[in-house]
Subunit: 171 residues, 2 copies
């Protein structure tokens, strides 16, 4: 199954000049959704991890299933002000704009191995910031998994020191 056939391309979203890769058309198609998860799980299961961490909010859709299937805990990395207990924060630039991410201080114990999952690899800023949050807590990032990779933005370069995998690649 060619998963890219289920991705919808939307020009000029969220701002002019950006060609947005819309995964909702894949998610709503039961066979494409299942195939995407199964392909992602095949990659995830190569790694032995203690936790799966996910970047809010589309990352949750894929990461929670992978955490469940690996039978490990799920860690949400969230936008500022959403996590209720003590957090650490990290600012980062993204394809369009600047943002900040937070993780609970008690989310990951020192020495734990973590798989990081998000829907899309663009410049890699979001994933790099997330990986740093995990490392600041003493965790190690075993691999970073994406549904989609926009190769032209060279996110893999920024994430050079990590094992990075993606299911669908756009030049």
């Amino acid at each position: 199954m060619d998963l890219s056939q289920y991705i919808r391309n939307i020009p000029d979203f969220p701002i002019k000049g950006i060609l947005f890769r819309d995964i909702t058309t894949l998610l709503k198609h039961k066979d494409a959704f299942k195939e995407a998860i199964d392909q992602l799980f095949l990659i995830a299961s190569r790694y032995t991890v203690d936790k799966v961490a996910a970047i809010e909010s589309r990352g949750y859709i894929f990461a929670s299933i992978i955490a469940y299937k690996l039978n490990v805990g799920f860690i949400p990395i969230r936008k500022p002000g959403k996590l209720p207990a003590d957090t650490i924060k990290k600012s980062y630039s993204l394809e369009y704009g600047v943002n900040e991410l937070e993780i609970h201080k008690d989310a990951i114990a020192r020495g734990e191995k973590v798989l990081l999952i998000d829907d899309l690899l663009a410049t890699g800023g979001t994933a790099a910031a997330s990986a740093e949050l995990i490392e600041t807590l003493g965790g190690t990032v075993e691999a970073i998994l994406f549904m989609i990779e926009l190769e032209g933005l060279e996110g893999k370069k920024l994430l050079g020191k990590y094992n990075v995998h993606s299911l669908i690649t756009y030049r």
Copy 2:
């Protein structure tokens, strides 16, 4: 397993007077996370549905796994401005504040049966707005599932015409 033991109570979050039920402590505990999902799936599998719809963003964590396990499509209901294609919108009041939700017009086909999932039932405003969005598209809401229900806020009354289930109940 008593799932409520894995929920952390945080006073005065996000605003003074609110006792926040923090699910991140459950999510990160692999056995509690698995048990919560398996209990939710047991309820979900009583219904025959075409789609699972989830409310951004914590709803995604539970709903995507249920959609995957039921082998049906996953529909995200999102905060304004996030969905890239044509949408319909619905305003609603929540426990603290007012908000708006959107769904893609092509998310659900007329006559499709939908299971709606979110993490928390408070006043029910978010779920009621989401159910209305599904119905406006011609779908039927077979049931609404929550991890946590805050009984004192009487959300079940507002959702009176739906089948509503929750795993953990607080008075």
